[in-house]
Amino acid sequence: MRAMPVGDDALLLEVPSGQDAEALHAELQRRRSAGELTVREIVPAARTVLLDGVEAPSRLAARLAGWEIPPVPGRVQEPVEIPVRYDGPDLPDVAALWGVSRDEAARIHAASRFRVAFCGFAPGFGYLTGLPDRFHVPRRATPRTSVPAGAVALAGPYTGVYPRPSPGGWQLIGTTDAVLWDHARVPAALLAPGAVVRFVPVGAG
């Protein structure tokens, strides 16, 4: 792990893989809950975890070097289930990239077990990992100017669900009625980093 100071009161922790970042994030959360870590924000991302609002970053960096980071715990969490209709306009393209039929593409996606690696882009937008490497797809060559709320989409190693209408370049494979973000709800975000997620097909695919 590489610990880089960011300004005067933050640390950016860089690890070799996305899986390492998820494991590090889980461990940092655990230590914060246990009162061993005082920090304003823990922000996981693709290969890093940012600790913002830290009292003495260099001292914390030295402490971190001695930590054992256990692998992400396996099947302890109840998955968040997201009902999805596999009716996205890019499903035929994705199925072609995978070399399978549309029904089979939907089946592959729904059979995968996802984890929220991190959030960003918009409140409640989670970057979900869990699709095997051979099913990773590129972004669309031309982004759409408007993607509807509830669109279930793929890009690179990630699956995501658009919490609200926005421009976007991901491949749209389905639609959900689940509310990803509602600031009047507690918690506001349906998906938080570390959550386990399953997509459940509904209706005629």
């Binding site: 924000e41 991302a45 959030c119 409640g124 609200r164 600031h183």
Partner: protein, 289 residues
């Protein structure tokens, strides 16, 4: 609606409700938001006897005009500007008593960008995740003010301080931002790092609450490819592919994929919020505390 309210007569170019923002939700993709010139917002709150977390109005260049429905104490600070009550001049940077139904005008900034209006009792729109701030990046919080809008006000909390006027720093002729290098200065050539720390930039007119954009000598990368998205802090100086540094302000995205060459010391961010387009900018390196 009770009589504790403020009618918006002229919303101005961009006037938003701001408080100290909503830190603590970055992991969900929620920007911190909050007043861009935080010391100015804190000062006007103090001048009207509000607690520091009370919400104020943040204007952009051309002020705004409001009409309180009942008598209130107000104070205007931040960017210096004319203040009038029913057309008669009133002091800037000092508490002013405004009668119910009177017209309070915050004029065009004489210098600087953002003026702050505190009203006794504070603006009490519905908070979102613990904050009343308008976040222009993600759309959280109340929308920017519109002509005819009515904003609820809280009950005045306490006793007014014995202050007739408070000194405030003037907006800068030249913006000197003290930075600590990193975390990604190794993504740039040694020449680019030297350019960044020695050459003059200018504030771009494309600046907003998300970031202070600059124009100047582009910074060349030492390596090709993309940086996987990573967490961003307030004051991060991100360098997009065009090579022009952007200083992240309160509504900045929580993660980003362009390398951060340096981070601006928090003390410089209020001045950055008041720097008008065209203002010269210099970045100077300081060592970490």
């Amino acid at each position: 609606m009770t009589d504790r309210a403020l009618s918006v007569v002229r919303a101005g170019a961009l006037t938003t409700v701001q408080d100290r923002g909503r830190p603590g939700h970055a992991h969900l993709g929620v920007p911190r938001s909050g007043a861009l010139d935080a010391p100015a917002a804190a000062l006007v709150n103090r001048l009207v006897g509000n607690p520091p977390e009370a919400a104020v109005l943040e204007t952009t260049l051309d002020g705004c005009t409001v009409r309180p429905r009942s008598a209130v104490t107000v104070a205007v600070g931040g960017a210096p500007c004319p203040v009038t009550v029913d057309g008669r001049p009133a002091p800037w940077g000092a508490p002013v008593r405004v009668m119910g139904g009177a017209l309070l005008d915050i004029g065009r900034a004489r210098s600087g960008v953002r003026s702050y209006l505190a009203v006794s009792g504070g603006v009490t729109v519905e908070p979102v995740l613990g904050s009343r701030s308008t976040d222009l990046l993600s759309g959280l919080g109340p929308p920017p003010l519109a002509d005819g809008a009515v904003l609820p006000l809280g009950r005045p909390a306490g006793v007014l301080p014995y202050v007739d006027a408070a000194p405030q720093p003037g907006p800068p002729d030249e913006l000197v931002l003290r930075v600590t290098l990193g975390p990604r200065e190794d993504w740039f050539t040694a020449d680019a790092v030297r350019t960044f720390l020695t050459r003059a930039y200018r504030v771009s007119s494309a600046s907003n609450r998300v970031g202070l954009r600059t124009e100047g000598p582009p910074l060349e990368r030492a390596r090709p490819g993309e940086l996987p998205s990573e967490g961003m802090v307030l004051g991060a100086v991100q360098v997009p592919p065009d090579g022009s540094p952007v200083v992240f302000l309160a509504d900045h995205p929580t993660t980003g994929g362009y390398p951060v060459i340096a981070v601006v010391r928090p003390a410089g961010l209020a001045a950055a919020a008041q720097a008008t387009p065209g203002t010269p900018v210099r970045f100077t390196a300081v060592s970490r505390r």
